[in-house]
């Protein structure tokens, strides 16, 4: 073989680039790549040939050869990529179908599908509330700090903010930590008297395990009218529970602290021989009414927050909350 020189490197490079540009099929290009850069490839042998070069020139020629090799390698890889893309595209093109063809398909599946237990329980509750004269309304999951906290009498730096670990967003908004965020929105949009429920997804910054989820569901309820009392709240809650469980339920109210209600309660239900915490509730705080543009001297109300996820889990005895967002058909199919 010829001794490696500047001229031989230049001509080998030119030759190789020329050969590459002549080829377009993936197979030919792969072969050429081996022929040039493989173990016994032409350019590889030139690298080996450097050994026979005058040591004083070896360094410079080596560097030059490396650059040339890099150029050839880059070029052939680029061409291979283009050829591969063309081949893939051709393969896909073989799969061309007339997407606009009107085709009638019979029912796809032999078996019936299923509705998520959260959806079915939510639906059941919505129907109960519609029967009790409540409208079903909707609010955004991405919420402003104002509706989720400030308007609910939870100003910045209030320790009550620690009660709810929050996902904060780049634009200063947040993922709502509670469906209560809907309260002031509803008050702004509607005229009293009003009765609403608002089901939805809520979020808390939390590590997931069998009993904790960062994504969960609540259903907020609110009634605004004249002369609303704790006795009315008890009436609606007992009626609701009677509808859900099909029979009268023993309940108790005990003090609970939520800045947007005053007084605030936890409602417990007597279940399997002990009191079980079911839902927080209370009379709507005057500051919340004011935030919604409603005169608290004229109107009062109560509000409550049903934990839908918790209700679903106890109803179906689901042992792991992760199933609810798990998208596993083996779970879902049990609810067909």
């Amino acid at each position: 073989m010829d001794t490696v020189s500047e001229a031989s490197i230049e001509s080998a490079k030119k030759g190789a680039l020329q050969e590459i540009s002549n080829l377009s099929s993936l197979k030919d290009l792969e072969l050429l790549k081996t022929d040039l850069l493989g173990k016994k490839g032409r350019i590889t042998s030139m690298m080996k040939g450097l050994r026979d070069v005058d040591p004083s020139k070896r360094k410079d020629l080596g560097a030059m050869l490396n650059v040339a090799k890099g150029e050839v390698e880059q070029e052939i890889l680029d061409r291979i990529a283009v050829a591969k893309a063309a081949k893939d595209k051709a393969a896909l093109e073989k799969e061309w179908i007339d997407v606009e063809l009107p085709v009638k398909a019979p029912l796809l599946n032999k078996e019936v599908g299923s509705i998520h237990p959260l959806t079915s329980v939510q639906r059941e509750l919505e129907q109960i509330f519609v029967g009790l004269g409540f409208d079903v309304v909707d609010g955004p999951e991405v919420e402003s700090e104002y509706y989720n906290f400030d308007a609910l009498n939870i100003p910045d730096e209030h320790p009550a903010r620690d009660m709810q670990d929050t996902f904060w967003l780049e634009n200063g908004s947040l993922l709502r930590t509670q469906t209560s965020a809907i309260q002031v929105r509803a008050l702004e949009q509607r005229e009293p008297p009003l009765r609403i429920v608002a089901p939805g997804r809520c979020f808390r910054y939390e590590r997931i395990d069998a009993t904790h989820e960062h994504t969960f569901y609540q259903m907020e309820g609110m009634m605004i009218d004249r002369n609303v009392t704790v006795g009315h709240l008890i009436y609606f809650m007992k009626t609701l529970l009677r509808e859900i469980f099909g029979k009268e339920q023993e309940i108790r109210l005990r003090p609970g602290y939520f800045p947007f209600v005053e007084p605030g309660f936890e409602l417990d239900i007597w279940f399997n021989g002990k009191w079980m915490e079911l839902l927080p509730c209370g009379l709507v705080h005057p500051k919340v009414l004011e935030a919604g543009g409603i005169d608290p001297k004229e109107w009062q109300g109560f509000a409550f927050g049903l934990g839908l996820s918790r209700l679903v889990m106890s109803r179906f005895q689901i042992d792991d909350i992760r199933h609810l967002q798990g998208c596993d058909l083996r779970f879902m199919k049990q609810f067909s």
């Binding site: 085709v103 398909a105 796809l108 309660f265």
Partner: protein, 837 residues
């Protein structure tokens, strides 16, 4: 927070109230009780014994064979405690009794004592430590019982229950339910509530210490030793200091160790423990400094300098900021105000002279400081709730009272220094008992309301006939009680909500409604369930990498500042990435699957006003279908039979049914350009879905490479439900009162086959038909078959269609039909296509 029943008994008599009733009272009237537990093992089975002799156990360095006297008998046990020695009085647990063992998580459980052999020596029981007796937290050796410790003469053999009563019941109260009650972060605070609940006065009152300044003057004497200054508006509202001499760091008495153990606090020495005890006792955080380390007997409270260093008691090194309040000795910080003391000036083993600090700080500032440095301490827990500044003085009284009781050498020196710069405003609330009754919904008598409020420390003197200004006690007047509705809560909870009758309100009846969105969603879900689809629910988050690889740009995807996982760091802009995950998951165990999800996605938007959420919300339906069998097999069931794309056509057909819920019109489906941004879409099997010329969705087969392990083809569709909802609304509108009579005349039909380029969409043939056929007569157009192969050329296909024709007012004559047919034939002849005979 933990509340000890014994401790409460210092302030209120309630021996006759059972543990169950005690828990119920606190739960139903005050705050949520998370747990109840008992402190102390069964001491009636543990006996006082005296160590007669100890001898080594062969080959066991640390163990001793111990002979004990029980008075009437002697026993031998093996003991490993270093402090076990002759002459010591000890707690002996015989076989059959039990002791307490603490797990790493701090929970204690009871373990039975058994007779066993240790190193060849028979051990007839155990000698117990404070912790094993569960009466204290010391576990460094066995409990050394002395006459001083129990203040009784020691008679060996006596049951320990005769020597001391350190068994206790502890309520663990949910801290969150005390967020609004700075006054309840102590035993005295709970005692005040309990006194109102059981209707008995407090045995010991501390409020005068807070409200009567003359008592403070009497607490010390002579000149003030410690000088205090507070920088204006630095956030420190009050700072008291008092000096003590002759103190020592002896161990705390057993009763104090027992109580600190009950509330889960550690013990160190009398001075440190006492400071802690006082906080749990009366709720005021306080700090004891070694006087030697407070330069020139003075404190100056100020904001920290930027970057100023402080090493705290727990040995963490802080770099302070100008927002932090620091207590300095005039030059250097010695404590972080309201949160934690400094290491340097803290109590040392040889401390004999101390300065006690008791102060009050701005709740917002201390909260911000703690957040900034990632700290959470008992002091912070109290100050951030807006503790009354009046309470600060009570810590000095209580500390002085206890230390002089316990240690006869300790004494107060000098006068109290009280720098009270920001006075607390007194609060009174206008109330009407009638309003209170109306809110509760029960007939609570005036006298009962008077009594409830008085028992809670409110001053009702200024009221007349249940109307007027109600004075709020200082400890509730910092934020908690400020409006009449707060008083409703006070009366309601003590009155008892179980006494409120259930009443149906008088309301205006009206027909209420599901919102139209829910309505549509339910109809969709029912339809899809019927078609074999199962509903899934994915997170509202999406992985940035995965979404980009599917072709969803992150430009508009809202970023979460504190995601639980970097894979969940964006709010989803589409339901497709989620359903792809679900498809992958299910493919692991199901060959075929049909999934749907209804949910919201969001993109970044301008904030319309300061309360706006800055996000555009859209509701979508997403479908994923995988038949699990090869294309051809499934294709045979379709009309017309297709050789390729069975899954695509099947899902498109479902989609058509979905849309029909909202619109009478068929949607139009149009090829997606090959260079679409949606990288997940197969370039030759994807289409956009439109109605009335507006695109509202996409349907496509997922291109190879989207799924790692799914062998069959998966088709995915996503449509905009907000758009569909609009259509549904106008469908309802347009259908009002419109009925088209059913035609009395039968339809006719004819078939035709057209040869066209194999890669040309059916829509061009449809266009041709629409151009040449009188559309008022065309009832329906069906594709009967699509054929390619011999004798057609490779680039040709034959499409057979069936046209149904008819009129509302007549049966079409043969001539009419023929003329339509001829017209169409001529049209085809003059087009790019050919008729196939």
């Amino acid at each position: 927070m933990k509340i000890s029943r014994n401790w409460l008994s210092d302030f209120v008599d309630f021996e006759d109230v059972s543990d169950e009733r005690f828990e119920e009272l606190i739960t139903t009237r005050v705050a949520e009780v998370d747990d109840v537990h008992h402190v102390g093992i069964d001491l009636s089975k543990i006996r006082l014994a005296k160590v007669l002799q100890t001898s080594p156990v062969p080959k066991k360095d640390k163990l001793k064979k111990v002979s004990l006297s029980l008075g009437d008998s002697e026993v031998t046990v093996v003991c490993g405690a270093a402090n076990c020695r002759e002459g010591l009085f000890v707690a002996y647990a015989p076989p059959g009794s039990s002791f307490s063992m603490q797990s790493k998580s701090g929970e204690s459980k009871r373990i039975d004592v058994l007779k066993r052999e240790v190193g060849g020596v028979e051990s007839n029981g155990l000698l117990l430590s404070e912790l094993e007796l569960d009466i204290g937290s010391d576990n460094s050796g066995i409990l050394e019982i002395t006459e001083e410790l129990v203040s009784k003469k020691l008679v060996v053999g006596t049951a320990l229950s005769e020597l001391f009563s350190l068994n206790d019941t502890v309520l663990e109260v949910d801290n969150k339910s005390l967020t609004h009650r700075p006054d309840l972060w102590s035993h005295f605070g709970f005692a005040r509530e309990l006194s109102a609940l059981v209707g008995r006065p407090l045995k010991k009152q501390i409020d005068p210490w807070a409200t009567d300044p003359s008592l403070l003057q009497k607490l010390g004497s002579g000149e003030q030793i410690t000088q205090v200054s507070i920088e204006q508006s630095c956030g420190c509202r009050r700072f008291l200091a008092l000096n003590f001499e002759g103190v020592s760091t002896m161990p705390s008495p057993l009763w104090m160790r027992n109580r600190l153990h009950a509330v889960g606090a550690g013990v160190r020495n009398l001075l440190v423990d006492l400071s802690n005890y006082v906080m749990h006792d009366i709720g005021q955080p306080n700090h004891a400094y070694d006087r030697r380390l407070v330069a020139s007997d003075s404190f100056h409270v100020r904001r920290a300098h930027d970057g100023e260093p402080l090493i705290t008691l727990d040995e963490s090194e802080l770099k302070l900021s100008v927002e932090d309040i620091v207590i300095t000795d005039g030059t250097n910080p010695v404590a972080l105000g309201g949160i934690i003391g400094g290491l340097e000036s803290s109590i040392a083993d040889d401390t004999t002279s101390l300065v006690l600090e008791s102060a009050n700080f701005d709740p917002v500032l201390v909260r911000q400081t703690a957040k900034r440095h990632g700290l959470r301490t008992d002091a912070l827990n109290r100050f951030e709730k807006s503790l009354s500044a009046y309470t600060a003085s009570t810590a000095l009284f209580r500390f002085a009272e206890l230390i002089t009781q316990i240690d006869p050498n300790a004494k107060v020196v000098g006068a109290v220094t009280d720098c009270f710069t920001t006075k607390q405003k007194s609060v009174s609330v206008p109330v009407s008992y009638q309003y209170i009754r109306e809110r509760i919904g029960a007939e609570v008598e005036d006298s009962r309301i008077d009594q409830i409020l008085s028992s809670l420390g409110f001053n009702v003197d200024a009221l007349s006939k249940g109307e007027g200004e109600l004075d709020v006690p200082y400890y509730r007047a910092t934020r908690d009680v400020s409006i009449q509705d707060d008083i409703v809560e006070e009366v309601g909870r003590i009155f008892g909500y179980e006494n409120v009758p259930e009443v149906a309100p008088k309301i205006i009846s009206k027909a209420s409604s599901l919102n139209p969105k829910s309505q549509l969603q339910y109809e969709l879900a029912d339809l899809l369930r019927g078609a074999g689809f199962s509903e899934v629910s994915n997170y509202s988050f999406m992985s940035p990498e995965r979404s980009e690889s599917l072709g969803y740009s992150l430009d508009e995807a809202i970023e979460i500042e504190n995601p639980v996982d970097s894979d969940l760091s964006r709010i989803r802009t589409s339901l497709v990435p989620g359903i792809c995950l679900a498809a992958e998951k299910n493919a692991k165990h199901s060959k075929a699957f049909s999934l749907f999800e209804i949910g919201s996605s969001y993109s970044l938007a301008e904030k319309k006003n300061k309360n706006d959420n800055g996000a555009k919300q859209s509701h979508s339906l997403c479908l994923a279908y995988c038949s699990g069998y090869s294309e051809k097999k499934g294709g045979a069931a379709l009309e017309p039979v297709v050789e390729q794309g069975e899954a695509f056509y099947s899902l498109a057909s479902v989609l058509q049914r979905v849309v029909s819920l909202a619109s009478r019109k068929k949607f139009s489906i149009e090829r997606l350009p090959e260079d679409s941004n949606l990288k997940w879409c197969h370039p030759y099997r994807s289409a956009k879905v439109s109605l009335d010329g507006v695109q509202f969705g996409v349907i496509a087969e997922a291109v190879k490479g989207v799924f790692d392990d799914v062998s069959s083809r998966v088709v995915i569709a996503e449509i905009d439900l907000d758009f569909l909802l609009e259509k549904a609304h106008s469908k309802v509108e347009s259908s009002k009162g419109v009925f088209t009579p059913i035609s009395k005349y039968p339809d006719s039909f004819f078939e035709m086959s057209v040869v066209m380029p194999i890669r040309e969409e059916f829509s061009s043939l449809r266009g041709l038909i629409e151009e040449h056929v009188d559309m008022s007569l065309l009832r329906n157009l069906e594709v009967v078959s699509v054929y390619s192969g011999a004798p057609l050329a490779d680039d040709e296909k034959s499409v057979s269609v069936k046209l149904y024709l008819g009129a509302n007012d007549r049966t079409l004559s043969g001539d009419e039909l023929q003329s339509v047919q001829d017209g169409l034939m001529r049209g085809v002849d003059s087009s790019r296509f050919q008729l196939r005979s």
